[in-house]
Amino acid sequence: MRKIKELVIERGLLLSALITIAVTVGIILVLSIEAIKFFSEVSIIDFLTDPEWTPLFTDKHFGIMSLLSGTLLTSFIAIAFALPVGLSISIYLSEYAPKSFRRTIKPLLELLAAVPTVVYGFFALMVVTPFLQTIIPGLSSFNSLSAGIVMGIMIIPYISSLSEDALHAVPYTLREAAYGMGSTRLQNAFKVIVPAASSGIIVSIILAISRAIGETMIVAIAAGQQPRLTFDPTVPVETITAYIVQVSLGDVQHDSLEYKTIFAAGITLFVFTFLLNTISYRIRKKFQEKYE
């Protein structure tokens, strides 16, 4: 009886693991099959090099670059904003702040990541953009700057919290060594603790980038829906994710070429996040080896 119970539990656990894998494989399969169909109609060279993306117009162009530039631009702005802020917070919390303060502030910071992204989107559109327009007169109502900054606010806890974990995990004996050698707090933080935690910090940054690249709602609401190959942060752009939303919600016919574009766009996005995840996994593995 006991043995059967064990067996049922074991199989049950295995099943749930298999379901997760099956779903992942399923997603990749659907993405690939539809993307292959797309690429049988549109050459992959056009896809990669055409500067325009106009699949819904009569004069169709399928250049992913203009969507990709929107994604990269907003993500870059987000990281440029979140990295210094997030890292400063993590170093402050780990090396300077009193313990009690750290215990209170960390969960509060993590709340930033729990705010629904649609709220962030409207915050960007209704608050940040009008504010930025008072500083930058030429700023259009939809722009990547405002979307990027708000996305940066959203990903701060990814960097601050995970980096703080990495900094905090550096053995206390290293701090003793650093202080014992006559380091100031600043020297201890930047010459010993940050380098020792560097792999953990890099992983946190990569996860944050990955999150920014995949973010949909904020950019769909605040960055606009105009595919444009540009690195000007003041004009409307469209990201890959925003495009997918736009087409999915529209009345594009199933199995049409226009419909298949979202799979081509989707697989591009997937390649990026997959690469980033792989890199962070590798770094984490190396990091573990180092401290064993």
Binding site: K99, P171, E176, A177, G180, M181, G182, P195, K290
Partner: protein, 266 residues
């Protein structure tokens, strides 16, 4: 000779004789009193050992001399600690500068996750010294002092974490020597090492006392008797007995000391 002059001569002679002086030192961790009024003078260029059972306050006491307890929560202290006649708990003391003068070697080898070279050069680099030839020379001489040079001279750019435990501890001592302190505090430096590495470190300590004043905390009584000139026995936050090592181990004054060194408790 004027009186003032006379005084300074007496003062400097005290300085020469006693490197470290503790006067009625008390330490509290919140409500717990860890050190209950200890006074002692430690001589220059000697090895002084602190012995006593776990929790007797010997490590806490040692860490007062380079103010390492400052980072412990709820740490409070009373009394004075003087180094070369100067109160190191004075509010005008530069703690970083103090620690360059009073080096420390810890229980577990704790090299930085950097190269061997960078480990030894660390203390000099944070002082802003950049001259390559000078750093090179100082790294070499420090590693030679701890007899590690011949073992690592071709691997200076290798990670210090790749060294064995004993080598790491000698590296940590070299790192401390590189900034030329006058005092070295050692907090059970061999407790994590094998007997052969321990013997090497003990030999090293014996050699180093010509140039440095060494204070070592140890659980190992044979070690204390082998390497130290003077021994202090601590028990429950008090200094029970402090005398020449020879005297402590052969003919202690106090019953508690005798009980401890003969292994009746501890």
């Amino acid at each position: 000779m004027s009186e003032e002059n006379n005084e300074s001569i007496i003062e400097s002679s005290i300085k020469r004789k006693y490197k470290l002086q503790a006067k009625d030192v008390k330490v509290w961790y919140s409500d717990f009193m860890a050190i209950k009024g200890v006074s002692m003078d430690i001589k220059a260029n000697k090895v002084t050992a602190f012995i006593g059972p776990s929790g007797c306050g010997k490590s806490t006491f040692l860490r007062l001399f380079n103010r390492m307890n400052d980072y412990v929560d709820d740490f409070k202290m009373g009394g004075d600690i003087n180094i070369d006649g100067k109160d190191i708990y004075d509010k005008n003391i530069n703690v970083e500068l103090l620690r360059k003068q009073v080096g420390m070697v810890f229980q577990k080898p704790n090299p930085f996750p950097k190269s061997i070279f960078e480990n030894v050069a660390y203390g000099l680099k944070i002082q802003g010294l950049k001259d390559k030839a000078f750093l090179q020379e100082r790294v070499e001489s420090s590693l030679k002092q701890v007899a590690l040079w011949s073992e690592v001279k071709d691997d200076l750019n290798k990670s210090a974490l790749a060294l064995s435990g004993g080598q790491q501890q000698r590296l940590c001592i070299a790192r401390t020597l590189a900034v030329e302190p006058s005092i070295i505090l050692m907090d059970e430096p061999t407790s994590a090492l094998d007997p052969i590495s321990t013997a090497k470190i003990e030999e090293l300590i014996y050699k180093l006392k010509d140039k440095y004043t060494i204070v070592i905390v140890t659980h190992n009584m044979q070690q204390a008797s082998r390497i130290s000139d003077n021994t202090a026995f601590f028990y429950l936050g008090e200094l029970i007995e402090y005398d020449k090592t020879n005297k402590i181990f052969t003919n202690p004054e106090k019953k508690q000391t005798e009980n401890y060194i003969t292994g009746r408790f501890g």
